[in-house]
Symmetry: C3
Subunit: 347 residues, 3 copies
């Protein structure tokens, strides 16, 4: 079978505060088909290793932190943050080869990233751009949900925002305007960048109660999508400017920032990390709460449609699919992903 996951890439494993300094903070993650243990040393350094003792496969996440090391609580083997076994109680020295595969980690912008390839290949220049949930100027509020689908479907979802008109009709949408945009996606080395304005539409549903019914708006979006699978977007609501093209010129009413990361667990499950906030410039009382609830609702909308899609794909594994104009973004993102996976796996 063809390889499914990109190895030489940074995957999101959550936010800075997800892995604390407490003795019980042995965090289990599953990323790209691997079970991982994450923890911090006493000095706060972030460690990631396979969550499996090489002796009899007990999860190290059921173990115990001891200084910068972790002890397997089945037979007491002690592993350093490099995964090398330091001690086996009852043996003068650990047996040869007693080590757990360790993974390179990096913390940047308040996000935790794990490199799923060989640690020596880890390239921090490839860490995706992200907004920090701890940035006081952005007021991001964050959460995560689990979705039972293959992550390629989630990439396709993110690479084509025409679905806002339909999936998110009751949250971000409220107009079919998104469905008539034919965005030009600028190809990047590891993703795509996309800018456009959705013009002369009613308010998005989540702010509709704040404006007169007949008011019209322009929404300017700037998306950067990077494999495997990070998404940041600047989403700005302007007063409609009446123009045909070009950047939105109307007054800026709400200037929002979202930073999202999709981490495949396995073939059929992913963890979705999301956040959304607004710059202090356009913030007003209560809007962060409103945005957070809207965002959460919207991800449940995505979950519903994606899991329904997954069920049908499993029921009809050989069904052909037809393509439409909105597949340009998904097609480019998956092409980039497949090219990188193929490059890692020469035949």
């Amino acid at each position: 079978m063809a390889e499914t996951f990109l190895k030489n890439a940074w995957y999101c494993a959550g936010w800075r505060d997800d892995v604390g300094l407490g003795q019980k903070d042995l965090v289990e993650r599953r990323i790209a088909g691997q079970s991982l243990l994450l923890y911090r040393t006493a000095e706060g350094a972030l460690v990631a290793m396979e969550d499996r003792c090489p002796h009899r496969s007990a999860p190290l996440s059921l173990g115990r932190k001891e200084g910068d090391a972790v002890r397997c609580m089945y037979h007491g083997m002690l592993f350093g943050p490099d995964g090398i076994c330091r001690a086996v109680p009852g043996m003068a020295q650990p047996p040869e080869g007693a080590r757990v595969p360790a993974f390179a980690t990096c913390e940047k912008d308040g996000w935790i990233w794990v490199w799923m390839g060989k640690p020596e290949d880890a390239d921090e220049s490839l860490i995706c751009e992200a907004y920090s949930p701890y940035d006081p100027d952005l007021n991001l509020r964050a959460n995560s949900i689990r979705i039972e689908t293959n992550y390629r479907q989630e990439i396709a979802n993110l690479a084509d925002l025409s679905h806002i008109s339909w999936v998110h009709d009751e949250t971000f949408g409220g107009t079919d305007g998104w469905a008539f945009i034919k965005p030009r996606h600028k190809r990047q080395a590891r993703g795509i960048e996309t800018r456009y304005v959705v013009r002369d539409i009613p308010s998005p549903r989540f702010t509709a109660h704040m404006f007169p019914k007949e008011a019209r708006f322009d929404i300017q979006v700037h998306v950067r999508l990077t494999v495997p699978c990070n998404f940041i977007m600047n989403f700005r609501i302007h007063e409609a400017d009446g123009l045909e093209s070009g950047d939105a010129q109307g007054a800026l009413l709400l200037d929002t920032y979202t930073s999202q990361a999709v981490t495949p667990r396995d073939e059929g499950t992913l963890d979705y990390y999301f956040s959304w906030g607004t710059s202090t410039e356009t913030e007003f009382p209560g809007v962060i709460d409103l945005m957070y609830r809207t965002n959460f609702d919207a991800f449940l909308e995505d979950k519903r449609i994606l899991e329904g899609q997954r069920r049908r794909q499993l029921e009809y594994p050989d069904a052909p699919q037809i393509d439409i104009v909105h597949d340009a973004g998904p097609g480019q993102m998956l092409w980039v992903l497949d090219k990188l996976i193929a490059a890692e796996n020469p035949a």
Copy 2:
């Protein structure tokens, strides 16, 4: 693998009122290994199509009704009741081949039927006989349950009522009299017809409290079973006539009618639609309630034994089975079914 389901047949998808005119009335069904969407057009016409958008497999049942059409709420594709795509928002016209397989439907006797073969082959003369839950003269009360078994086991269950003595000992039974009947099954083109009298037995359990303990009864049954898998029965309780054979001659105490349909969802699951009632002629206050509760209890009895049987069949897939005298009905029904399936699938 041999084909499992008959395609050229009408399968029950519920009763008339299961699919309403409301905007949210997009009903999901699974029939013979296919996922279906059922809905009504504004004029009330019943539509059935594959519950899968041909673009990226999102369930259309998560969509939105628009007039006589249904819109996929992932990317907004609009499909007419014939399954042909009418519009893709953002495209001048739908791509070639954008259509959803549609299925022929029919409403008759208050039941909804779907033809799982090619719509052009749909033959309304093959719709099974059924009693209508809306017939004021029969007072049928209806419900459905899901049973985790293969539908062939349910056919075998229905084609041999000797199990009333055992499975339904506490509802329809209360005597081993059913086990001593050796009914002659009259072969039909697509099923069997069976008539007999179970003579000189105590009251069925569900009416036992109404009669003196020593009272004896004759029960005259007339069953018609049709592939795939419909069952109607006239079940009449008479005063015992003391005769050895022939139709029951004693006073008719309760004249009941049941109409049932088994719809396989997949190899291991089925939806069972059932109803039971009595003619106005022999109805008396409260008897419909009593019959409904008895019927529901009896189907839970069937569910328990059938699901237990299924578990053992999966555990012992290669175990031989021995046959007994009561297998005549099941054997004939499954023979009819297999012959029809084989005719559809020339080697």
Copy 3:
């Protein structure tokens, strides 16, 4: 695939009182990949047979006891305690070959044992030693839990008590002393026997509150493990004697007896029967309750680590494993088991 379970062996199916004389006492068990019905005849004899009617596979445990026989409640077939069909209602005599495989059973020490090989090969001399939960001198209190793992992992768990230091740190343990024992296991025909003293350690956690903090103890253990997979242990807490070797000489503070049996249900599930108590000699008020609760907690500790291990083994089926000094006991037990399984299955 290689055979997984030993056939010619007695497996524990519970305790004497688990199978009563009531009419509803048709007890379902799953042992070594077989579904069994257990019941008692009117005279109290224990019967075990395949829990599957040879007609259409209905579970006999959903049936009805009639004297010393059991009736299948699907079509009324009646089976004697030897599994031979006595009657098929509606037939003059049962069809040839209508029988259910019967299994030899034995009750000894208050435990129920089932021989999973041919009944004629059943050898009562092979019944494992056990302490009786009904023995008034031992005050055993018993329970069982289900663990989702392969029984070989449970054997490995029991054959190496070094895990007390880690898995049971909060119950039986509280010291790493167990991890420094290198026990000599005396090989037996069907298992191993092991004796040693864990010396000069603090109190086990469950009795720590009863003694001064600085008190030191010796724990003398005597374990007998027998395939498939029975475990009895005499676990004695003594005052520390200050000696280097030999039997514990300090005052005997608590003299406990545990009798345990692991019954594999299938490849991935087992039923664990356990009991623990103390001799009347060293019993004191409340200690049985304390021991019972400690024991139950400890088995939940085992369950957590074993099920975690199982998950990782399924995720990484081809991962090599390294061995440590404590694998001697598990290695010998599994070697004995594999040798016996191989002897039953000549190539």
